[in-house]
């Protein structure tokens, strides 16, 4: 029996889709069977980020309205067999999906997959309600910006009313130097205000943008910082204890030598 995890944030553009793809990929890399669901009806892009756009034949609305079987709509990832995607519809509108339909799909997927990761649309309307309706757990994404933290707080409040385990949080797009200078909220401050468990932190990394552009999850690249962060998060989801990534920027050899002589910063 699998576990359904919804990735949500309230605010748009904080990295829900990227997080969904990369946690899914990282879990699949650890030999788990994973299915990703895009619930952003009308504005789908999970398939684009994964580079699977041209393989879509059926979508979630086709499944709910009985035009195809669930298995027919699932798209196998081109890199692993263990990773599948249920795409959102691009032509229908949000009313085509109901909370009941979502629950049924998730219950069916739970038989075949270890993890079902649901990419939630921005906002707190019906789309959000649908996305969380079948979930067992929730992960709230925020960035170190006030508006994003405020929306995350609102979302956590709404999740408290649902039959879901207390949500966990990922702080995305961290910029070390801005945080250090006090130009952004720092991690402790965010954790204190939201007072929920921190699942992981992800540094703002150009490799993420590059990977999305190429339709290849960043979690594949073994050396980028964001990739390591996503794989750490996946390990924490599996129950391992992994320390948080250090925020210190690694200094180059030249700077180290300069520092040794006391002339560098």
């Amino acid at each position: 029996m699998g576990e359904a995890i919804v990735i949500t944030s309230g605010k748009g553009g904080v990295g829900k889709t990227t997080t969904t793809v990369n946690i899914g990929t990282a879990l699949a890399l650890m030999d788990k069977k994973v299915c990703l669901i895009d619930t952003d009806i009308g504005l789908r892009n999970l398939d684009v980020v994964m580079g699977l756009e041209n393989r879509i034949i059926y979508d979630i609305v086709d499944v709910i309205e009985g035009r195809c079987k669930l298995k027919q709509a699932l798209i196998k990832d081109k890199r692993f067999d263990d990773l599948a995607l249920l795409p959102a519809a691009q032509t229908s509108d949000k009313t085509a999906v109901t909370a009941e339909g979502m629950k049924q799909i998730i219950a069916e997927l739970k038989h075949d997959y270890d993890y079902i990761i649901i990419d939630c649309p921005a906002g707190i309307e019906q789309g959000f309600q649908n996305a969380i309706s079948g979930a067992d757990k929730a992960i709230v994404i925020t960035t170190p910006e006030k508006s994003s933290v405020r929306d995350a707080d609102r979302i956590i409040g709404l999740l408290e009313n649902e039959e879901i385990d207390p949500p966990k949080m990922i702080i995305n797009r961290i910029r070390q130097h801005m945080m250090k200078n006090g130009d952004m909220m720092d991690i402790d401050e965010i954790v204190q205000v939201l007072s929920i468990d921190l699942l992981g932190i992800v540094i703002d990394d150009e490799a993420v943008i590059k990977a999305a552009h190429q339709g290849e999850p960043v979690a594949f690249h073994p050396h980028s910082k964001a990739s390591i962060a996503y794989r750490n998060i996946a390990r924490r989801i599996l129950g391992e204890t992994v320390p948080l990534q250090s925020l210190e920027e690694e200094k180059g050899m030249l700077q180290k030598v300069k520092k040794f002589f006391g002339i560098g910063s």
Binding site: R150, D153, R154, I156, G157, L158, V193, S195
Partner: protein, 228 residues
């Protein structure tokens, strides 16, 4: 038995004129006697209305009976009923009274978009986050951070206060007064309270210690009984 014992007596005391109505006879009998008494003691030359308190002992009268008593007195004399005082109240009234006089303990976080609205005093164990709102008819005590909005004395009690372990509210509201955080980024304060300063006619924030002089009756039961 006490045929000559009077059911209705009128007495002048230091606090003004009082009408005592015996509580063992029926309401009907009492009204008849009251009528008799009022008519016989009428003084026509006194134009000025005289305020009077009606004390009815351990008798319960409903609203209709109260108006009957008031009407009877005011139409037949120049007395003016200030108050009808009874030693007993209705059960419903007592429950409402109790609800408003209790300190409600709430143990949760108030997050953005959430509203906590209660009667009586509020003791919140947890934070009020930015965008969160707590409202009470009495005082608000917060063991935690106040970042959002707190509204004390929402029923109009200007004596209400707001106290918090850490205060950095976006707004404080007490009765019909509102104060907001300054536009510049300010540090919050620890262990402080907000209350209305009558002299400057606005909400001020000061150390918790000043409450012992500013609001002496803060913990008194009577205060809590009459708020809300």
């Amino acid at each position: 038995m006490s045929a000559n014992k009077q059911r209705v007596t009128i007495k002048g005391t230091r606090d003004g004129l009082n009408i005592f109505i015996e509580d063992t006879c029926s309401f009907h009998e009492a009204m008849a006697d009251l009528h008799e008494k009022i008519v016989e003691s009428e003084r026509t030359n006194d134009k000025q209305p005289v305020p009077v308190t009606v004390k009815i002992g351990n008798r319960y009268v409903d609203n209709e009976q109260q108006t009957d008593i008031t009407e009877l007195i005011e139409t037949n004399s120049n007395l003016q009923v200030k108050k009808i005082e009874s030693n007993v109240i209705h059960k419903e009234q007592a429950l409402a009274w109790k609800e408003e006089s209790e300190v409600k303990i709430v143990n949760r976080m108030i997050r953005s978009g959430q509203v906590l609205d209660i009667k009586g005093d509020l003791l919140l164990i947890g934070d009020v986050n930015p965008g969160g709102l707590v409202i009470s008819t009495g005082n608000i005590y917060i063991m935690g951070n106040l970042f959002g909005i707190a509204h004390a004395g929402s029923g109009g009690d200007r004596k209400a206060i707001i106290a918090a372990s850490y205060m950095k509210p976006s707004q404080l509201r007490i009765a019909d007064y509102i104060s907001r955080a300054p536009d510049y980024d300010s540090e919050g304060v620890y262990m402080e309270c907000g209350f209305i300063d009558e002299k400057i006619d606005q909400i001020i924030i000061d150390r918790l210690q000043v409450l012992s002089t500013m609001r002496k009756d803060l913990s008194a039961f009577e205060r809590r009984m009459f708020n809300g």
